[in-house]
Every structure is written in structure tokens, then in C-alpha cells.
């Protein structure tokens, strides 16, 4: 390709005595695995150009070369902390293509796993948000407390991260004996712990002064930019797929979606925390309603095939918002095309918009409040 399609920063730029171009990242603690090219006038950002792609792994291309089962372990790699939710739309889509009906107990196990994973991911995200703002207690606490839930996932799947637990037809293994009791105990304690975060973080005047009224995204702009998940709900749009397009057994559970009207960094940082409290609530409901015994996996024939040229688009609410999987099948054992439409990539469009006119010092707090996971955005 010729020069005109190159990202800026590599092409020569016009010099200006007032405006300075600054590359933040790709190896910068304030950017994650991506580069943010900002142009600053004094202390104020006049333009911002995100340059993702440093952790692009070609998941979509790889998926075209592997069959529907061997795709499972590598498709969860974009977000290993949220691996169940990343696999969820893929598994739902393959079940739709193959015409498999999943048992009731398997659906409940999936919901529990996906809510546990949402908390595990959000704790990690929160830890990094803490360290971005120089609040090291908020790094240590979530990093320690998420071990509670990681232990639970380890009991379920055998792995601390990258569980590869969801398979078309249900889940890989049944819950271990006595799991309900242990899970309830851990989740109750976890809930008690994260409620304490309010005093040290969310009610902290330093956090509030740094995040309130910075990077405000109005309701209209949130809709126009098509952002998703906590970013959307922080701008006053009540849209949670667990309620709006319930999959598996979310219909039978009482899900409350958290919405705030402010649309600033503070609201965006608080919604995921409120979601964790809601997840604890959902897990407890699911543990109660789950059938106590029964099969959790429908056995498939080896090398399942789709039926003719067919396409399916399934989406779930992940830790970072709506996560869609578009699978095109041509009747072979591999998908013809697999596209992951991920929340991080969709939220990235808001970054240049929010940073314009913001102080450079607010960049990390605005950037990470977008609930952005660079690896997921790149796929």
C-alpha cells in the first residue's frame, strides 16, 4: 500500500510551533497495548487518533482453518479473564447452526460461569483503573479479591484462566460435588468485600475530582457512536442484552441493569462495579433455581458440520458490552467466515471524541473508563 493509507506518526507531519504531536504507547503504562497519538496545545488535547493493532493475532483467520470444536480454545484468547463470555456467542451460534438443544442444567451452569467471569474480568479492569489513577490500594484489593472467584472457576473447569469450558451442546464438565455451598459462601464474601470499595475508591474525593465531569458523553452521542456496555449505560441508555435479548436462562432470572445519567468518567467507572454486585445477585438466583442433577452436555458426532450455506449472528452481554459472533457456514467442518464484533472495538470510536478539549492529565482516566481491552479490540 502506498503512503496515503499509513497511520500518522509514520508519515511526515506538518510542523506547527504551537501544536505538538505526542505518541502515547504502544509500550506505555498509560495506554496498554496500543498507541494513542495525541496532538496537544499546551496542556489541552486538540486531536487524538487511536492506533490499535499491536496485539492483532488473526483470530478470525485462524478460525477458518479449524473445525467447530478445535476453535474453542483459541477463540477465548482475546480476553482470557472473560473467556466464558467471549466463547458464549460462538457456542450459541454453533448450536443454532447445528440445531442442538441444550439441557436446562447446562444453561444454568453457563450463566453461573459467565457471571463469575464477568466479575473476574471487571476486577482486573478495576485494578488497572486504580493504578492508572495512582491509587495503589485499588490495584491490590481487586487483584487479591478476584482470587476468590478464580478459585471457583478452577473448581469448575480445572484452569484458573482460559477455561475453554463452554462447548456446543453445553459445558465440558459437570459442577464438582458440593459446589453450590462453596460458591455461595465465596460469592457472599466477595460481595461483602466489593461493597467496601465504595469507601476507599468510589466515595474518595480525589477520584471524584479527577473523574467527575471529564469526558462527558451525552445520551444522543452515545447512541450515534454506537458504543456499548457500561459506556452506553453510563450515558443513560438502558440497554443490557441480558434483559433485551435474553439468551439461555436469563429470562427466568431477575436481572437489573444499572444505568446512570451523567455520562462522565466517574459514571463509566462506577457502572462495572455496580454490575459486579448485580452479578453476585444473579449467581445466587441461579444457584437456587438450577436443577440439582441432570446432564450438562449433549454429545455431538465427531466433526460436526453446518447445513449448507447459512449464517448466524448471536450476541451476549460480556464484561465490555455486547459481544457478537457472526458465523458463515458453507456445510464444511470449519466455519467459512467467523467475525467477532467486540465491545472494545466498538467503544474505541468514542476515544477521539471524548479526548478532544480534555487535559492531557485526564487521558488515562478517560481512556480506561471506556472499558477497553486492547487485545480484544485487535482480535
Amino acid at each position: 500500500m502506498t503512503n496515503e493509507f499509513l497511520p500518522p506518526g509514520l508519515a511526515l507531519q506538518k510542523a506547527d510551533e504551537k501544536i505538538m504531536t505526542l505518541n502515547v504507547g504502544p509500550q506505555h503504562p498509560g495506554s496498554g497495548h496500543m498507541r494513542i497519538i495525541v496532538q496537544i496545545d499546551g496542556d489541552y488535547i486538540v486531536a487524538c487518533d487511536p492506533d490499535p493493532g499491536y496485539v492483532h493475532r488473526g483470530e478470525e483467520k485462524m478460525a477458518e482453518y479449524r473445525n467447530y470444536i478445535t476453535n474453542i480454545p483459541h477463540l477465548e484468547r482475546p480476553v482470557i479473564h472473560d473467556s466464558c463470555n467471549v466463547l458464549y456467542p460462538y457456542v450459541l451460534g454453533v448450536e443454532d447452526l447445528l440445531g442442538i438443544e441444550v439441557t436446562e442444567r447446562a444453561k444454568y451452569v453457563r450463566v453461573i460461569c459467565s457471571e463469575l467471569n464477568r466479575c473476574i474480568y471487571t476486577m482486573y479492569w478495576l485494578a488497572i483503573y486504580g493504578i492508572f489513577l495512582g491509587h495503589s490500594t485499588m490495584f491490590m484489593w481487586p487483584a487479591g479479591d478476584r482470587e476468590l472467584l478464580i478459585d471457583l472457576m478452577e473448581k469448575i473447569s480445572g484452569a484458573r484462566v482460559t477455561h475453554a469450558h463452554f462447548v456446543p451442546g453445553g459445558v465440558r464438565n459437570d459442577l464438582p460435588p458440593n459446589f453450590e455451598e462453596v460458591c455461595l459462601r465465596q460469592v457472599n464474601y466477595f460481595e461483602k468485600r466489593i461493597r467496601e470499595y465504595a469507601a476507599v475508591f468510589y466515595d474518595n474525593p480525589i477520584l471524584i475530582s479527577r473523574t467527575q465531569d471529564t469526558g462527558v458523553l451525552s445520551r444522543e452521542d452515545a447512541i450515534r457512536l454506537g458504543v456499548t456496555g457500561s459506556v452506553l449505560r453510563a450515558s443513560g441508555v438502558d440497554y443490557d442484552l441480558r434483559k433485551k435479548e435474553p439468551y439461555d436462562v436469563y429470562e427466568e432470572l431477575d436481572v437489573h441493569s444499572n444505568v446512570m445519567k451523567e455520562g462522565d468518567s466517574y459514571a463509566r467507572s462506577k457502572i462495572p462495579w455496580l454490575d459486579m454486585l448485580e452479578s453476585c445477585n444473579i449467581i445466587k438466583q441461579a444457584l437456587e433455581k438450577m436443577p440439582k442433577s441432570g446432564s450438562v452436555r449433549v454429545k455431538l458426532k465427531p466433526n460436526p458440520k453446518g447445513k449448507g450455506l447459512n449464517s448466524v449472528y448471536k450476541r451476549v452481554e460480556s464484561g465490555r458490552g455486547s459481544l457478537g459472533c457472526h458465523i458463515v457456514s458453507d456445510g464444511k467442518v470449519e466455519p467459512y467466515r467467523l467475525k467477532l464484533s467486540v465491545g472494545s472495538f466498538r467503544n474505541l470510536i468514542a476515544l477521539p471524541y471524548l479526548l478532544k478539549g480534555e487535559k492531557l492529565g485526564n487521558m488515562p482516566s478517560v481512556y480506561w473508563s471506556l472499558n477497553y481491552w486492547p487485545v480484544e479490540a485487535d482480535r
Binding site: 500500500m1 502506498t2 496515503e4 493509507f5 499509513l6 497511520p7 509514520l10 492506533d51 490499535p52 493493532g53 492483532h56 488473526g58 478470525e60 483467520k61 482453518y65 461493597r195 465504595a198 469507601a199 468510589y202 466515595d203 452515545a222 447512541i223 450515534r224 457512536l225 454506537g226 456499548t228 452506553l232 443513560g236 438502558d238 440497554y239 434483559k243 433485551k244 435479548e245 435474553p246 429470562e251 437489573h256 441493569s257 444499572n258 444505568v259 446512570m260 445519567k261 459514571a267 462506577k270 455496580l274 449464517s311 449472528y313 450476541r315 455486547s322 457478537g324 457472526h326 458463515v328 467459512y336 467466515r337 467475525k339 464484533s341 472495538f345 466498538r346 474505541l348 470510536i349 485487535d378
Partner: protein, 224 residues
């Protein structure tokens, strides 16, 4: 103390979406029932089967989705093809001359407001690349679970020079702002140039990438 501080900020908005799933659910259920019966009455069985099938057929097409597709068909007639109507999804195929008008109609008249996903699909045997837009709505609660799957096709050149050859489509960025990065991704991964897109640069690929657009079918992974 802390739970009281956050409850005042949590608000639950628009309830009406609740009725949606209830009306769609019955469509899937009746088809499964007759097959489960064991063949106890062989004489009655064949008679019952054909009767049950046509009755189930009209229920199969969900009414709400059918309504949406009818509105588009009414407006554009034979310029579009309805590829499928299933639960929560309406598939529309349109050629590249009309994709702009159809998208504008979907936004202005049908209340859809954002694009969730733009995926390219390469069909080398047809010498075409399909670009599929999944369009959803945040502002209209009755459409919350709905997606319009708008597909259009661009000409595919054997030896692509991305940005300089005939593999072009009109951009939808002026209609749906949210396609901006998605279309940039399709451009670098498939070489489909979006005419009218203000920022047709690469996004994810390395700067020195000088090979085929990598998600095309003729770009093969080594060792596979």
C-alpha cells in the same frame, strides 16, 4: 451507608421491552412436539403429519420481523431481496447502487440508529466480496432485540491494489457514524475501498504489510 449512596443514581428506564420475548417464543415450540410421539398408532400418524406441518409453517415466520421486512419490500420492491426472516433477525440483500438509499430508509423510517458489526465475506468463486452490516437500535425499545442484516456485494479483483482498483462500495458512514472503524477494518482486511469515507486508513495491520488483504480466501496461512 454506601448502598444508600448509589441507589439514588441507579435508574431503571423504559419497561415496555418486557413483552417482546413473550410474543416471539411460541414460534419455536410447536414444531418439536409431534416428532416426540412414539409410533403407537401407525394408521393415524401419516394423516396427522402433513396436517401439522402446513399449520406450523406460517407461525414459523415471526410476525414482528415479517412486518419490518414488508416495510422495506414495500418501499424498494425488487431492488432488494429478503434473504431470511427469523427470530430477531431480518436479512436484506441489496446491490451497491442502492445500499445507501436502503440504509437511509432503515435509519429514518424504521428507527434503527447504530451498526453493531460490519463483516466482510470473501466469495472468490463468485468474484465478489460481501459486506454485511448488522444494524440495531438503542433508541426504540421495541426494536431492542432486533437486528437488520444488510448485505451488499463488491466486485472482487484477482490482483488487488487496495484503494486503487474496482473493489469499491459507497460508505455508510454519513448515515451511521458508528461504522467508521468497522469500515476501516474491512478495507485493510479485504481491500474494499469505501468511497466517501473520510478516513480510509489502515487500523490493525502492520505498517509494512505488503501482501494480499489477509482475510481474503486466497491468502493462506503457512503450514495449513
Amino acid at each position: 451507608m454506601m448502598s444508600s449512596t448509589n441507589t439514588e443514581q441507579i435508574t431503571i428506564e423504559e419497561k415496555p421491552a418486557e413483552e417482546k420475548p413473550a410474543e416471539e417464543k411460541p414460534a419455536a415450540k410447536p414444531a418439536a412436539k409431534p416428532a416426540a410421539k412414539p409410533a403407537a398408532k401407525p394408521a393415524a400418524k401419516p394423516a396427522a403429519k402433513p396436517a401439522a406441518k402446513p399449520a406450523a409453517k406460517p407461525v414459523e415466520l415471526p410476525e414482528f420481523e415479517k412486518n419490518i421486512s414488508d416495510k422495506i419490500v414495500e418501499k424498494f420492491g425488487d431492488k432488494i431481496v429478503v434473504s431470511f426472516v427469523k427470530e430477531n433477525r431480518v436479512g436484506i440483500n441489496v446491490d451497491k447502487e442502492n445500499v445507501h438509499d436502503v440504509a437511509r430508509f432503515i435509519r429514518d423510517e424504521l428507527n434503527y440508529d447504530h451498526v453493531e458489526s460490519v463483516s466482510g465475506v470473501d466469495y472468490p468463486q463468485d468474484k465478489e466480496i460481501e459486506v454485511v452490516y448488522h444494524i440495531g437500535s438503542y433508541s426504540d425499545p421495541s426494536l431492542a432485540s432486533q437486528l437488520i442484516v444488510l448485505a451488499t456485494r463488491a466486485e472482487r479483483e484477482e490482483n488487488p491494489i487496495p484503494g486503487k482498483d474496482a473493489t469499491r462500495l459507497p460508505t455508510l458512514r454519513d448515515i451511521f457514524y458508528s461504522v467508521e472503524f468497522h469500515e476501516r477494518e474491512v478495507f485493510e482486511m479485504f481491500g474494499v475501498y469505501f468511497t466517501g469515507h473520510p478516513d480510509n486508513r489502515r487500523l490493525l495491520l502492520p505498517e509494512d504489510w505488503a501482501d494480499l488483504p489477509p482475510l481474503r480466501k486466497d491468502f493462506a496461512i503457512k503450514g495449513r
